[in-house]
Every structure is written in structure tokens, then in C-alpha cells.
């Protein structure tokens, strides 16, 4: 194998966690295959990123661009396409992020490479790459291989691949590529930060999180009572925000907030990864769910299989009046 390329995504002057996860993975695979690891970053501030990336990568290609300060698909696609055409890496790694969901498929078509997204495992046996994807609501794992080809593009599921601090000292090469930040057919108009909400769930010690399983806005009261009994606050998974039951400030997960409470009590949440990545830092996870096969039970410390609406009121009662 000749080379592995990792695309480094950044936001607010920091490389994305998932990019570091991919760098570590890339490093591991490169060492295993005895090939080089190349990192590519498109940024207006090369010095801020390149050296950091060089700890994992043997070499870093820093593509200089003007604004904006965070990753946009268009400039990356142009830069990466030409790099890939020129250097023909065997493997291109990106994190399965919003950025990559916009970029990777177009890039794959652009350079005519096969693409597997949201991989939960990436393995290499005598040069051949196989990946695992989690499908059907996490109930099934699918294993994929690739027809012989020059380059395979993969995106890795955030929070699944371990990060080992890089120890290397790669060389940084700043290159100048024709980067179109402003394609006339697609203008970047800026970005908006998440709306502030009255409660800051990221600072809460105890979170009572509700999902689809609470069935109806009216039932949020039950969860709220429990939260009050536990001295915690209400959090939720995406559907609850989609239904307009709670403001987005309460949402935990990929498109919501990342939390680290002492106790995360998940009510009627199935545990899709987009949600789970948001609560990895929790000390203790307890799940109550009807479906004994719900993925959340895989990550939870304790679980009760049953009807949330039935159990929660009773639980609240027991929290309030400890039996002596």
C-alpha cells in the first residue's frame, strides 16, 4: 500500500475530535501496512493546524485559503480531488460528520472512487480493506469489501475509533491550489450558533433524557417530575425537538449538545449513535425502554425493560421517599 490520506476538518480554530480519531486510525493502518500517512487541511491559518496534525501524519498538506474559519465542502473537494488524482492514495479517511456528509459522496463521484460512510470498524487484511457498518437502527452489522481499485474513500463514525496521541514529527508542506471559495452557484453566507436555552444541560449533574418513547408532549411532565426529584434537568433526543416538544437547547447528540453528567437517565430513547455520541462522558447511564433489543442497553450501565409511562411515576415516588 502506497499511502493513506486523512482529511482534517476544523472548526473555531480546533481540529474536529473525529478528525483526530481518523488520524489515529490512519496511523494504525499505515503502520500495519508500512505505508505513509498524509493529512490534508484547508485553512486560512496553516500554522494553527499543520504542526498538530504532523504528530500523526508523516506529511501534512496545508492548502491555504482565505475565509472562512471552518471547513467548507467546496474548497476541500477541489483541493482533495486534485491531490487524490495526483498522489493516488489507496485509502482516504474522513470523519462521518456533517461536513463529510456534504463532501464525501460528491468527492467520490468526482474522483470515481468507491465510498463507504459511517464505518464502525476498518480492517486491513493483506492489503485488502474491509469495513463494518451498523444498519437497521443498530440491530444489524454489515461487513463490506471493495472491488479492486486505486482509491477507497471511507468515513468513520464519530466516537467509535480510539484516539492515541501522535508522537511523530511529520513534515509540513504548504501548497497553493486553485481553491474556489466562492463558486457563483453556491455562496457561503456565514454560520449561526445554536440558540441559547434557559437551561444549560452541559453543566447539569443529573440529566433525565426523553425520547420518542414518551409518546406525547403531555407525558414530559412525568419526566420533569423525576428530574426535579433527582435535582436534575430535562434533556432529550432529536425526535423530541423535531416534534416541537422541547426547544433544541435540550437536545443531546451529534446535532445537539455533548454532556458529561454524573447520571444520564434515558427514558424511551433507543440509542441511535447520533444521540449516544453526545453522552459518552456520562459517569453512569441508566436506560428505561420497552424494547429489550434497543441499542441503548449496549452502552447503559443499568437498564429496565418496560413502559416508561408506567415506571417513571413509581421511580419518582421511590426517589422522593426512600424506604428505610
Amino acid at each position: 500500500m502506497a499511502e493513506i490520506l486523512v482529511v482534517a476538518e476544523h472548526r473555531d480554530g480546533k481540529p474536529a475530535d473525529v478528525s483526530l480519531e481518523m488520524l489515529s486510525t490512519g496511523r494504525r493502518l499505515a503502520d500495519q501496512a508500512g505505508c505513509g500517512l498524509l493529512a490534508v487541511v484547508v485553512t486560512s491559518d496553516v500554522s494553527a493546524f499543520a504542526p498538530r496534525l504532523a504528530r500523526w501524519a508523516d506529511s501534512v498538506l496545508a492548502v491555504k485559503t482565505g475565509k472562512p474559519e471552518h471547513s467548507l465542502a467546496e474548497p476541500y473537494q477541489k483541493a482533495l480531488a486534485s491531490v487524490i488524482r495526483e498522489r493516488k492514495p489507496n485509502l482516504v479517511l474522513l470523519g462521518h460528520s456533517s461536513f463529510a456528509m456534504d463532501l464525501a459522496p460528491a468527492l467520490a463521484v468526482d474522483v470515481g472512487a468507491p465510498l463507504a460512510t459511517d464505518c464502525t470498524n476498518i480492517a486491513m487484511e493483506n492489503g485488502a480493506i474491509t469495513v463494518t457498518r451498523s444498519i437497521y437502527n443498530g440491530k444489524v452489522n454489515a461487513l463490506y469489501s471493495f472491488a479492486p481499485c486505486e482509491t477507497v474513500i471511507l468515513t468513520g463514525r464519530p466516537g467509535v475509533f480510539p484516539v492515541e496521541e501522535g508522537r511523530g514529527k511529520g513534515i509540513v508542506e504548504e501548497i497553493d491550489l486553485p481553491v474556489h471559495e466562492e463558486a457563483e452557484y453556491k455562496r457561503f453566507e456565514g454560520c449561526s450558533e445554536p440558540e441559547a436555552s434557559e437551561v444549560d444541560i452541559t453543566k447539569a449533574d443529573v440529566l433525565v433524557a426523553v425520547g420518542r418513547g414518551v409518546k406525547e408532549k403531555g407525558n414530559l411532565q412525568l419526566a420533569e417530575d423525576l428530574a426535579r426529584a433527582l435535582g436534575g434537568v430535562l434533556a432529550c433526543s432529536r425526535p423530541v425537538v423535531d416534534y416541537g416538544w422541547l426547544p433544541s437547547g435540550h437536545q443531546v447528540g451529534l446535532s445537539g449538545k455533548t454532556v458529561r453528567p454524573r447520571l444520564y437517565l434515558a427514558l424511551g430513547i433507543s440509542g441511535a449513535f447520533q444521540h449516544m455520541v453526545g453522552l459518552r462522558g456520562s459517569k453512569m447511564i441508566v436506560a428505561i425502554n420497552k424494547d429489550e433489543k434497543a441499542p441503548i442497553f449496549t452502552d447503559a450501565d443499568y437498564g429496565i425493560v418496560g413502559d416508561v409511562l408506567e415506571i417513571v411515576p413509581v421511580l419518582t415516588k421511590h426517589i422522593l421517599e426512600p424506604r428505610r
Partner: protein, 260 residues
């Protein structure tokens, strides 16, 4: 405003439906007991398309690549208010994203399209690839994970969802392709009678050949080796017993663990 919406039909494997088994081939799940539904993200895409048709006039065409059973989903799309539906008759369960993208690009390329909408991802495979691939093949701008849309004077102003609730704002020149994230709207209920009425609406079926695609256009670049049931529930210590009893024990556990 002519809008094309790509939809797909998925087996209902949502939280409370948990009877998923691998079939003999090891490459598919037992579909016998599973019921099908329209992919949730596609439902939002359709609703969004229909609301813009309502505002700006024009047509909404629902398209898919799939087997005959998927007509159910197209009929549902028609019932929701789509003007016509086209199915490319291929077994989508065995082809990969790039093949599906190629097929849809060929189809959509032949249709009037100021706007093309896809669900941001599918419930079953969750690849989130199809939309941007098709956009690249059609050579039109795209934006993935759109949570807000404003269409005016040949332009689409969109908000893309990023991690942590942040959003990127773009202006795309039409024609453009958007992949729609859930929550962008409230999909309407599709009544039984409206599905019945939709039977009169046009639902056409096309073959690869009619699209001028050779069979090898479907050769997958990504090959499915096999499926395995995910190890379920192994992590958690499950507290058994009736609600009363289980809740009591959990309360004790929480107390002893000092989390409360």
C-alpha cells in the same frame, strides 16, 4: 417550480419493532414478518417539496429505484400531493449507493427539475450518500442536512445542520439538490381515503434500458460480504421485575452509587 423528490421504502425496524433476523443468504434480513414504510427523512423531503409547490406553484414528482412493492411508497407520495411518480424497476436492496445514484441521476436528468430533494439519509442503511452523489453527477450545486429552506428568484437559501446545533448558511443557484433533515417541517398525515384517491394519479415504471443505462451501470463498487445481528443489551445490567419492584431497586442502586 418543478421539484423532484427521491424516496425509498424501508422495513419498519424502529425501536418497538425488534424482530430482525438474518436470512439464509446471510446478505439480507428476513423481510417476511417486517412491514414496510416510507423512509422517515423522505417524508420530510416530500412535505417540504409540497409546501413550496403550494407557495410557488409547479409540480412535484416522486422518484425511486426499487422493486414493485415500492409502489406503495410512491402511492403514498402521490396521496400526500405529488403530481406524478416514477419508479425505475430494479431491486434496490442488492445495488450500492453509487449504482442507485447513477440510475437516479439518469432519470432526474430527463425530468424538469428546479429543485431536487432527498432525505438526508435512509432509516435502513443510513449511508447519507445518495443526494450529493446525484448532484455531482447532474453537475448542480447541493447542500446536505438542510434544516431550513427559503426559495426566491431562482435561488435557494438554506441552513445546513452542523454538529452541536450550529448551522452553515448558503445560497444556492437553482437548479440545486438538497438533502433534507428531519424536523424541517411537520409532515402531514396521509389519510386512507387520500391514498385510495391517489390511485388515479400517474405512476410510471421505467427500465434501465429506457434510461439508456447498460446493466453494468449497476455493478456495485462496494460489495456486501455478510450481515451479522448486532450484539444487543450486553452492556447494561438489566433490572427485572414489575414496575414497582424494578423502580424500587433502581432507586436503591442510584442511592448506593451516590449519584443522588
Amino acid at each position: 417550480m418543478d421539484i423532484v423528490v427521491a424516496v425509498k421504502q424501508v422495513p419498519d425496524t424502529s425501536e418497538v419493532v425488534d424482530v430482525v433476523e438474518i436470512d439464509g443468504s446471510g446478505k439480507d434480513i428476513e423481510r417476511g414478518t417486517l412491514v414496510s414504510r416510507i423512509n422517515e427523512w423522505d417524508e420530510y423531503a416530500l412535505e417540504e417539496a409540497l409546501q413550496w409547490k403550494q407557495k410557488l406553484g409547479g409540480t412535484v414528482t416522486a422518484v425511486t429505484v426499487g422493486p414493485g412493492e415500492w409502489d406503495d411508497t410512491l402511492r403514498r407520495a402521490l396521496a400526500m400531493g405529488a403530481d406524478r411518480a416514477i419508479r425505475v424497476d430494479e431491486d434496490a436492496t442488492v445495488i450500492d449507493c453509487s449504482a442507485a445514484a447513477r440510475t437516479l441521476a439518469a432519470l432526474i436528468g430527463r425530468l424538469p427539475h428546479d429543485l431536487v430533494m432527498f432525505g438526508a439519509q435512509s432509516e435502513d442503511f443510513g449511508s447519507a450518500q445518495l443526494g450529493p452523489m446525484v448532484a455531482e453527477m447532474l453537475g448542480i450545486p447541493h447542500a446536505a442536512l438542510v434544516v431550513r429552506l427559503q426559495v426566491e428568484e431562482g435561488e435557494a437559501h438554506v441552513e445546513r445542520e452542523l454538529e452541536g446545533g450550529a448551522r452553515d448558511l448558503y445560497t444556492l443557484r437553482l437548479p440545486a439538490l438538497l438533502t433534507i433533515q428531519t424536523g424541517i417541517n411537520r409532515p402531514r398525515y396521509v389519510s386512507f381515503s387520500s391514498v385510495r384517491k391517489a390511485r388515479e394519479k400517474e405512476l410510471s415504471v421505467m427500465s434501465l434500458d429506457e434510461l439508456g443505462l447498460p446493466p453494468q451501470a449497476l455493478t456495485p463498487a462496494v460489495e456486501l460480504a455478510r450481515l451479522e445481528l448486532a450484539p444487543a443489551g450486553k452492556g447494561a445490567v438489566l433490572i427485572s421485575g414489575a414496575a414497582e419492584e424494578a423502580a424500587a431497586r433502581l432507586a436503591t442502586i442510584l442511592r448506593e452509587a451516590g449519584v443522588i
